[in-house]
């Protein structure tokens, strides 16, 4: 049963032009109603998926650093009451690197948060403006330093492969980022997601995204630099010193169960997929009318579960254990991964077999989506 809990806080001060996450801008938020409702959503899941103590909690958003530390505190107390905490539980909260939010870090740490993921996004003021961020680089760096003092573990995000970005520019920024002594980094290539302001701007010709060839070069460069610095990629976009990986996110990628509460949160509970109402108001009224925020709860067939496990697991540097997956889902190994294709792409150097494991190589990682399309048999992918 679930040992990971995700709590979604859907509000932001402003919507970033690249972001397609479930985030909303509201003038007023009734904290008391949200407290009650989140508690309610928590209790609903605890009734269905309890029995094991939590090993990780993740506050994502939106901008969860906008939450009152007291709210974070009561939610953590409630979660502990419902599930219990395993020793050394990882409690992460996503935070904006603004001075206002940095001033809350101490209280958040006191509430129990022990890991912060800071949305630095860039160390360059022009890039930050382009990305529509409200902070500049010096404010961001001072928030980073505050966070590093307040929390035992701090990770931050950078977005690269911006239009016109050269390998030299990115290398300088990345090396500087590594000099801050962090043990975990999320490095995302800018992707233009449908429905975002950037998508509109690209359509209108306001800017041209970096082309795939240049982006592929930056991807390789990123992995070389971080590996040399002792923070190799353990997932497509995540880099950490050994044992400093995000345990919470590893649960997703290793396809363990996880509870997801709050607007738009996804969960996996004993072969069922849960999705909560996305729009904050709809989620609130769902809580009121049915006692939980679930919009859809669906049983996943074994094939579907297996395909999810593959497409999440192959994102990891450790790859997947084919025999373990085969045993878990009762599906023969060659029905999980097309063996002829596996051999073909092994010969091409994009994937490799290592004992029972299948691992996507450094060369294969930037091509993972296409590779999955080749390796995962069509029968496994439900239409």
């Amino acid at each position: 049963m679930a040992r990971a809990l995700y709590i979604h806080w859907p509000f932001c001060l402003a919507k970033c032009p690249y972001c397609d996450f479930n985030s909303h801008v509201r003038d007023r938020i009734d904290v008391e109603i949200w407290r009650k409702s989140l508690h309610c959503d928590l209790r609903h899941e605890a009734e269905l998926a309890s029995g094991e103590r939590l090993e990780s909690i993740f506050f994502g958003g939106g901008t969860p650093s906008l939450m009152a530390p007291e709210l974070v505190s009561t939610l953590l107390e409630e979660a502990e009451r419902l599930w219990g905490f395993a020793p050394g539980i990882e409690i992460t909260l996503e935070a904006n690197p603004s001075s206002v939010e940095a001033s809350k870090f101490k209280d958040l740490a006191a509430a129990g948060v022990n890991r912060v993921s800071l949305g630095l996004q860039s160390l360059d003021d022009d890039a930050l403006r382009f990305l529509g961020r409200l902070h500049d680089s010096s404010e961001g760096l001072s928030a980073l330093s505050t966070a590093q003092n307040a929390f035992s573990r701090v990770t931050f995000d950078l977005i690269y492969a911006l239009p016109g970005q050269t390998p030299e520019q990115w290398q300088r920024m990345l090396e500087r980022a590594l000099s801050f002594g962090t043990s975990h980094l999320s490095l995302y290539q800018l992707t233009i997601e449908p429905g975002t302001r950037f998508a509109t701007m690209v359509r209108q010709g306001n800017f041209t995204p970096l082309d795939d060839d240049a982006a592929a070069d930056l991807f390789t460069l990123t992995r070389e630099i971080t590996a040399a610095a002792g923070l190799p990629a353990y997932e497509i976009s995540n880099h950490a010193r050994p044992r400093e990986e995000s345990r919470h996110n590893l649960t997703y990628w290793r396809y363990g169960d996880y509870v997801g509460i709050g607007p738009g949160a996804h969960g996996r509970r004993g072969g069922k997929a849960t999705v909560r109402h996305k729009k904050p108001e709809n989620w609130l009224s769902a809580i009121e009318s049915q006692g939980h925020g679930i919009a859809e709860e669906r049983v996943l067939g074994l094939n579907e579960q297996a395909s999810e496990a593959l497409l999440m697991g192959l994102r990891l540097a450790e790859g997947i254990d084919l025999q373990a997956l085969s045993a878990r889902f009762g599906i023969a190994p060659d029905a999980l991964v097309d063996q002829a294709r596996l051999n073909f792409y092994s010969a091409q150097g994009l994937v490799k077999k290592q004992g029972p494991r299948i691992i996507v190589t450094e060369a294969g990682m930037p091509l993972l989506d296409a590779l999955l399309g080749e390796l995962v048999p069509a029968d496994l992918v439900t239409a």
């Binding site: 795939d212 497509i236 996804h266 497409l311 999440m312 930037p366 989506d369 296409a370 399309g373 992918v381």
Partner: protein, 605 residues
């Protein structure tokens, strides 16, 4: 039955859009064949395709009853003939059923190539030609110039040409009067043994096969036991009639008359155009001249886009064939395209029509492979096989080159008629297509050029190129002039080292390299990047003549995948799988069907 002297049988010759159908409609209206309410635009072209393209595919007749100025009521049989060279044989039979023709020329456009071909055919049938200059009320109309063109180019007297505007109803009475006055009455002997020419036939779901006939001698009536002299079959006539254009049953059809019969025939194949119908007892001993078995000249493969539609395709082709015995089909299987049919057609237009009818009337998505022609190959004897002659219409069946003694290909004589500013580019096009110029004449600002061209150069994309370089002004017509030997080779295409049969073609050695380069370039754009680089090669035998490389994909990865939302990622994978299902696998290369279609389609996109 009508007295011979009171019958006139005529057809209308016109270039597309010069107003043939509109004129026919006006004639019907004027003589009261249909009330205004019953008139739908262009009564004679029944099929959607005929209406849309403004062409006639099946011959039809209308019997008009017209009381002339001399007070006599005449029976006018208007024969609407197919307007395209692909149906040259059918046209010749329709023309043979008439004694004259209206030559309709657009007063603004003047004489066009297609008009020429048809009018010469008509003249060959000893027809009396009545020129009608149509659309005289257009602002751009130059009737005097067109009159001069008719005299200069066609060489017939146009001094008494009727000036008309079918659209506005101008000159319709004059046209009818000219038909009566100028076109001779048919000849025939009512007492002689029955001789009727089978002009055309089609399948009607209620009546079975309906046969259009022109009675030469004798009388044809219900209950008569007849035989088809070429087909060798016997039938009992159960209906005799004509179209006004409404179907009307008549007691009989006498000499000189045109009408229809039915005889409980199930397949049009049994009613061959040009056959002679006579009585079983005391029938004619000699068949009418001019009968010919039509042979397909252009071939292509038709495959269902969705392999599951194969049975539907088989059924639909069968049904179409019920109504059109002139196209042939046999099953074909291709590694790339699955199961389909190799079909033979009378020409490119015929091919397009069949393809379009299958798509439209039978709701099928089709892949059409590159059209090819029939090659005659003389094979040398080998250790195990004797020398022999084979006919090849599928590049995939190309024999072992070492056994080939000679290959012959069909040639055509093309007549192109164009405003002279485009002549230079057109001559170059013909030259590039191995053309041999045989004639070039200028009339006013126009040029008429004749070329002998290999048909295989024409089926590729000649017509589209011609249209595009002349901005649609050049008109083109052709006739077949027999087989000639040529230095022809099979050009194969290899994708990632694997030959792709469906893309191979037979080309002349002199153009092979250019064709190969062109094909490789197009495929490079049409095949998506893969996870590895893909060489595309064109080769003759083992020799590579052109090569392109599709570079490997560099990046395709979802950067951000957390928060536990797997949905989008999974959708991406599903979409990818669906996309793949629409591709054909060649080794490890997936080629989208569009690539086959686009690479093989005649003409550029």
């Amino acid at each position: 039955m009508t007295e011979l002297s009171q019958i006139r049988n005529f057809s209308i010759i016109a270039h597309i859009d010069h107003g043939k159908s509109t004129l026919a409609d006006r004639l019907i209206q004027f003589t009261g064949g249909l009330t205004d309410r019953e008139m739908s635009e262009q009564v004679l072209d029944n099929m959607d395709i005929e209406r849309e393209r403004g062409i006639t595919i099946k011959a039809q007749t209308v019997r008009l009853s017209y009381t002339a100025k001399d007070g006599v009521t005449y029976e006018l049989n208007l024969m609407d003939t197919p307007g395209h060279v692909d149906f040259a044989y059918e046209v010749s039979r329709s023309l043979a059923a008439c004694e004259g023709a209206l030559l309709v020329v657009d007063a603004a456009q003047g004489v066009e190539a297609q008009t020429l071909a048809n009018v010469y055919q008509s003249i060959e049938h000893d027809h009396e030609i009545v020129p009608v200059i149509n659309k005289i009320d257009l602002p751009a109309a130059e009737p005097e110039k067109v009159r001069a063109e008719i005299e200069d180019i066609i060489g017939i007297d146009a001094s008494e040409a009727v000036l008309a505007s079918a659209k506005s109803g101008i000159g319709i009475a004059e046209v009818l009067e000219a038909v009566v006055q100028k076109i001779p009455a048919p000849k025939g002997d009512r007492e002689a043994p029955l001789k009727a020419m089978l002009v055309d036939s089609w399948y009607d779901p209620y009546l079975g096969v309906v046969i259009l006939v022109r009675v030469i001698d004798g009388v044809i009536k219900k209950g008569l036991q007849v035989k088809f002299m070429q087909g060798g079959t016997q039938h009992l006539i159960d209906r005799v009639g004509c179209f006004t254009p409404k179907r009307i049953e008549l007691p009989e059809l006498g000499p000189g008359e045109i009408g229809f019969i039915t005889a409980q025939i199930k397949e049009v194949e049994q009613a061959k155009v040009g056959d002679t119908i006579t009585t079983v007892k005391g029938g004619a001993t000699e068949a009418l001249p001019g009968y010919k078995e039509v042979q397909p000249v252009v071939f292509c493969g038709l495959f269902p886009v969705d392999a599951a539609d194969f049975e539907k395709l088989r059924e639909s082709i069968g049904k179409l064939r019920l109504n059109d015995a002139s196209f042939s089909f046999e099953m074909e299987s291709s590694a790339a395209l699955g199961f389909g049919f190799r079909c033979g057609f009378l020409g490119l237009l015929h091919l397009e029509i069949i393809q379009e009818r299958l798509t439209r009337e039978y709701d099928l998505d089709l892949i059409t492979t590159a059209p090819s022609v029939v090659y005659r190959i003389q094979l040398r004897a080998s250790k195990t096989e004797d020398a022999q002659e084979i006919f090849l219409h599928n590049p995939a069946d190309y024999p072992d080159p070492s056994r080939i003694e000679t290959i012959e290909e069909p040639w055509i004589k093309a007549t192109i008629y164009t405003p002279d500013e485009y002549l230079g580019s057109i001559l170059k096009l013909c030259q590039d297509r191995r053309g041999i110029q045989t004639d070039l004449t200028y009339v006013g600002g126009r040029a008429q050029v004749s070329y002998e061209l290999p048909l295989n150069e024409v089926v590729f994309d000649f017509y589209d190129r011609l249209k595009s370089i002349s901005r649609g002004y050049a008109s083109f017509d052709y006739e077949q002039i027999g087989m000639r030997e040529g230095d022809l080779v099979k050009m194969g295409i290899m994708v990632n080292g694997d030959p792709v049969d469906a893309l191979s073609m037979i080309v002349h050695r002199s153009v092979a390299e250019e064709r190969g380069r062109h094909m490789c370039e197009r495929l490079k754009d049409l095949i998506p990047r893969h996870l590895f680089k893909i060489p595309i090669q064109a080769a003759i035998g083992g020799k590579v003549i052109a090569r392109e490389t599709i570079s490997a994909m560099r990046k395709d990865v979802t950067a951000k995948c957390y928060g536990g939302d797997i949905t989008r990622k999974k959708k991406l994978l599903e979409k990818q799988k669906k996309g793949k299902a629409k591709m054909r696998e060649y080794g490890n290369v997936s080629i989208p069907q569009e690539a086959f279609i686009a690479a093989l389609r005649m003409g550029e996109e």
